[in-house]
């Protein structure tokens, strides 16, 4: 006999002024969780990783909930869709799909769908689930948006990971050829060893005086 279930589901959609590969890079960057999102995540550890998948432990604080909780996530790419299965300490299995679409003029659209398939008794909590995950989507979006836009901006200046922009770092003349190569997303993203260690990577700040971005 199969148990009856309900699917609690919510979809969030937004657009960005950068190519979709930048956003894919951002979603697939596990180290930035305790950096960019230091108010939302306090711990991240990559337990296993190959080119297009990763098993990651994350310690985070969801909106509205008064406690930090840990959870395991299996994250992988299927073409232009990133899929994540996230099991948290409360026992829920969250299935998340993020679809990345190109738009004209180096823009893109991101559609994130969160699903929890669970016992029908939880159907009554669906409005709470929707509010929680909408809030989560927009909280992380607001912190990620300037990161993506800056990543695209420095790419256009000639920055490459660990190198590039020699007119700044090496004091060389600024190149005349300003053609911008396509941004390539090639997982896995190179990262510090700490996040792959037993201790993982912890956030460095519980509180910070933020001077902020100035990228406009």
């Amino acid at each position: 006999m199969t148990m009856k279930t309900v699917n609690l589901s919510v979809t969030c959609q937004a657009e960005m002024d950068c190519p979709k590969e930048i956003v894919m890079w951002n979603y697939y960057d596990h180290e930035h969780l305790v950096g960019t999102h230091y108010k939302l995540y306090d711990h991240a550890r990559v337990l296993a990783q190959r080119d297009d998948w990763a098993l990651v432990y994350r310690g985070k604080k969801m909106p509205f909930l008064p406690f930090w909780s840990g959870g395991m996530a299996l994250q992988y790419m299927e073409g232009n869709v990133m899929k994540t299965f996230h099991q948290d300490q409360l026992g829920f299995l969250l299935e998340m799909e993020v679809e990345f679409e190109d738009l004209p003029d180096d823009r893109c659209r991101i559609t994130a769908t969160y699903n929890i398939i669970t016992h029908p008794i939880f159907k009554v909590f669906e409005p709470v689930f929707k509010a929680l995950f909408r809030k989560w989507f927009w909280a992380t979006w607001e912190e990620d948006a300037p990161m993506r836009l800056r990543r695209w901006k420095v790419h256009k200046l000639g920055f490459k990971d660990f190198s590039g922009i020699d007119y700044i770092n090496e004091c060389l003349p600024e190149p005349r050829d300003k053609r911008v190569p396509a941004f390539e997303f090639r997982p896995p993203i190179s990262c510090l060893k700490a996040i792959k260690s037993v201790d993982g990577e912890r956030r460095r700040f519980a509180h910070s005086t933020e001077v902020g971005y100035n990228d406009d």
């Binding site: 920055f159 007119y167 770092n169 933020e210």
Partner: protein, 127 residues
């Protein structure tokens, strides 16, 4: 900081800049910020001609380094410096305030820029 400023100049296009002369060469240094602006937080960032500058006061000296993290290009000066080091927002790479040396990967220091202060205004040599 160099003392080789030969003259101040506000061009016809109202660009605030000074011209310095070093080793027989003249260089234009654009205005970056006022001391007033800087003293508010002791640290600020500003884009100028394709350079992202992190301007700050460290041990009483006004200094400027590149604000573009050598790792993935993040904003080094997003957090106010703590314990004599900057920590990049994105992935926590650390840099020494005294020199811009990278404490996470010693092969990847940030560029330090020369500054010239005239009449409470800070000018930067981008070359």
């Amino acid at each position: 900081m160099s003392n080789s400023v030969v003259k101040s100049n506000v061009s016809s296009e109202e660009r605030d800049e000074i011209i310095i002369s070093e080793l027989g060469q003249q260089r234009v240094c654009p205005f970056l910020a006022s001391m007033d602006e800087l003293s508010k937080h002791g640290q600020l960032t500003k884009w100028i001609e394709g350079h992202d500058i992190l301007l700050y006061i460290f041990e009483g000296k006004v200094k400027a380094i590149s604000n573009i993290c050598r790792h993935f290009g993040g904003p080094v000066g997003y957090h106010k410096a703590k314990g004599g080091k900057f920590t990049c927002l994105w992935h926590n790479w650390e840099y020494d305030c005294s020199s811009g040396a990278c404490l996470t990967n010693s092969n990847l220091p940030l560029r330090e820029y020369s500054l010239h202060i005239r009449d409470q205004k800070i000018y930067i040599d981008l070359l």
